[in-house]
Subunit: 409 residues, 2 copies
């Protein structure tokens, strides 16, 4: 191991000795200038490799990791909320949207339904899952802890309309004084094989009234083929089609690089369980208007893992939190162009169905977007309720004098 | 997308239609012959890539994944136990060893201590953590649910001995009619900077009596240098030394390729928080005798991530579950030579401090080793208790006629 004995190091160590000899005060280990630009030798040393002539396979993988700093490494707690967001038996509130902060109030929109679920049965009128027979509701809070439910912002359509069965899993987007809600829609019957769509409504105020756009703005690809006619078998296929041949979920609308971007989760007909679990990928579609027509990116899918979409603006690009499914689950990713995502951090876990605090978009501070936001919890299979998550970055006592990670930027 | 229209496919689809048109019976998606040997085109299709002329960065990463089957993808539940393993206020039982099955009884060994912990303080006699002032105890069960605690198998040594402060985090190994317990040892004072060691005791019966070997069999590397003299600052270093310069934890003894192998977790002086969290790596040392001398492998470290050691024998090699810390957390790994580990699966999460069921070593069935075993749970920072985990593999309804993953072997 290297033994640094230069005078400079000696002097530095003296300074640190006096400054922090017995300093146990926790400081953030994630400093804004903590980054990595190690030489190969420095990497060997930091990785604790005992003999660089004998590299284990795992050490070789470690040596091949790209230079990444620790700016985006963090963790989450979750907690119950108060008021109308406390758990209420008989009612499901779930899949909260982003949180907007307007005139001293926090606003969110979410799926709300009542009554138990039966799964897919022979009676197509049965409530299938907690997000069936759902409307999009609106709630506000002064402090982000106690929430007051108001009313439905978007309700299911009339019989025969594309959104007549359920409207759910909303996201909100404010652009130039107009508010948009995008959400999943299902047209009866709600069978396993149903292909949902994405609808949009708009308003000049977060309080509504919300005007529905008459047509869906996104639909699944139509290049898969079912095998057989079992309405509840999603795995029997002649061919699978694209990553979004079955479902377009978790729509997220934003404006980026001069165009409206609609990020979403795709589900593929006949998806497999692989070495990394369930196959789930994200896609993006763009348009000059929030009402479409939206053109799916030829680069789709833009993730190879993930579940609910959690997107934010950072450093002129788009951040994305990949959770739950696939080999890249639990990674923080970022794409300068909003399409080609690189991994910034591998975290332990993350809350599901996160609604991020939109006022933390474009923060210069990494991880600020995760300061707090909303998520949901399963009380049981029938009823879920909205919780709050709080993100943080680990603390550690003062680093050594000589092993301060050097800045790459 | 490819459109398979051959007669063979048509006939196959007819057979499957009749056989499973409305078959919702869940079957194991993880079949023993499910494996992967896809062509590039088949991979493009399965990954749902919409235009292979426009590959997103995430799709390129997916296309570069090695061919892996889903044999080792699985999940875990945990549950409370009964009898003496129910939570007991004032007592900590944690870090259970592997479970041996002998004469109709399950046996395990574990850390047991009493009273609350204070962390590292100025009074070096204070109990620091739940594994301080600990002895190794023994319990048995007929059914793996209700456990009966017996007595201490290994107790702390006399004042001045290398194990006088605490003996904890045991593992058990039976070899040719002799039973071995390996465990962490600490010699007073238990300061943050203390370098623990590994001790070993042996017996001709799981019931004891256990004979202590007078010397430790493993120690941390001595090539790190502390900076300053704060006994509780583990991060202030002049140089870090090897991956195991501070601690050698979670010892696991087994016999493989004609030698005794001691797997362990290393902790490095001055470890960093990186893009993947805390730096933790595993090592292995070998010997012709269980009592040593053990020679650390020149290939150490043999993992680049992980925490507690969970090792088993499979298919002539060694399996290892990497959890908790580092970019490769939550991966199932395997090494034909016990040193060079490849990733077999990326799972969602795993229980901590797992004690595996040793009778499931050398099973031909993947994931069998995780059928059930022991783990622990934090009731609070002072008291932990032993739980049971149950591993399983996800179920899915019958796969399609044509998209059955093809066998690589």
């Amino acid at each position: 191991m290297k033994f640094l004995t230069t005078l400079g190091t000696f002097l530095t160590s003296i300074v640190f000795l006096n400054a922090c000899g017995s300093n146990l005060t926790a400081q953030s280990a994630i400093e804004s200038d903590v980054c990595l630009n190690e030489s190969y030798d420095e990497k060997i040393e930091r990785l604790g490799i005992t003999n660089e002539k004998y590299l284990s396979t795992a050490s070789k993988r470690a040596l091949a990791w790209p230079d990444r700093n620790n700016n985006w490494y963090g963790q989450f707690r979750v907690r119950d909320l108060k008021g109308d967001f406390a758990y209420e038996k008989g009612v499901t509130r779930r899949d909260p949207s982003s949180v907007l902060y307007e005139d001293g109030l926090y606003h969110t929109w979410y799926s709300r339904s009542v009554g138990p679920s039966k799964g897919f049965t022979d009676n197509f009128d049965d409530k299938t899952w907690p997000w069936d027979y759902t409307d999009v509701w609106h709630a506000t809070s002064k402090d982000g802890i106690t929430w007051k439910e108001h009313k439905a912002a978007v309700e299911r359509g009339k019989a025969g309309e594309f959104d007549d069965r359920s409207v759910f899993t909303p996201e909100v987007f404010k652009h130039e004084d107009t508010y948009y809600l995008v959400y999943q829609t299902v047209k009866s019957p709600y069978i396993q094989r149903v292909k949902n769509q994405v609808g949009i409504s708009s308003s000049s105020s977060p309080w509504g009234p919300w005007k529905k756009h008459p047509e869906p703005i996104l639909s699944p690809a139509d290049n898969g083929q079912w095998l057989g006619d079992d309405p509840h078998n999603r795995f029997s296929v002649i061919n699978k089609g694209d990553f979004d041949s079955h479902k377009v979920h978790d729509p997220y609308l934003t404006f980026f690089n001069g165009k409206f971007h609609l990020y979403y989760k795709g589900e593929q007909m006949g998806w497999e369980i692989t070495f990394g679990g369930r196959e789930i990928r994200h896609g993006v579609a763009t348009s000059d208007s929030p009402f479409g027509p939206f053109t799916k990116s030829p680069f789709n899918p833009i993730s190879n893992s993930g579940h609910e979409v959690a997107i934010w603006h950072y450093d002129g690009g788009i951040g994305s939190l990949i959770t739950t499914d696939g080999p890249e689950r639990n990674t923080v990713q970022w794409a300068k162009d909003g399409v080609n995502f690189e991994i910034l951090a591998n975290i332990k876990s993350a809350p599901h169905a996160m609604g991020l605090l939109r006022k933390n978009d474009n923060s210069k501070q990494p991880f600020k977007i995760f300061d707090w936001g909303l998520t949901h919890k399963y009380q049981n299979k029938d009823y879920q309720y909205i919780q709050r998550f709080d993100g943080s970055q680990p603390k550690r006592s003062k680093t050594s004098a000589t092993y301060k990670l050097k800045c790459a930027d």
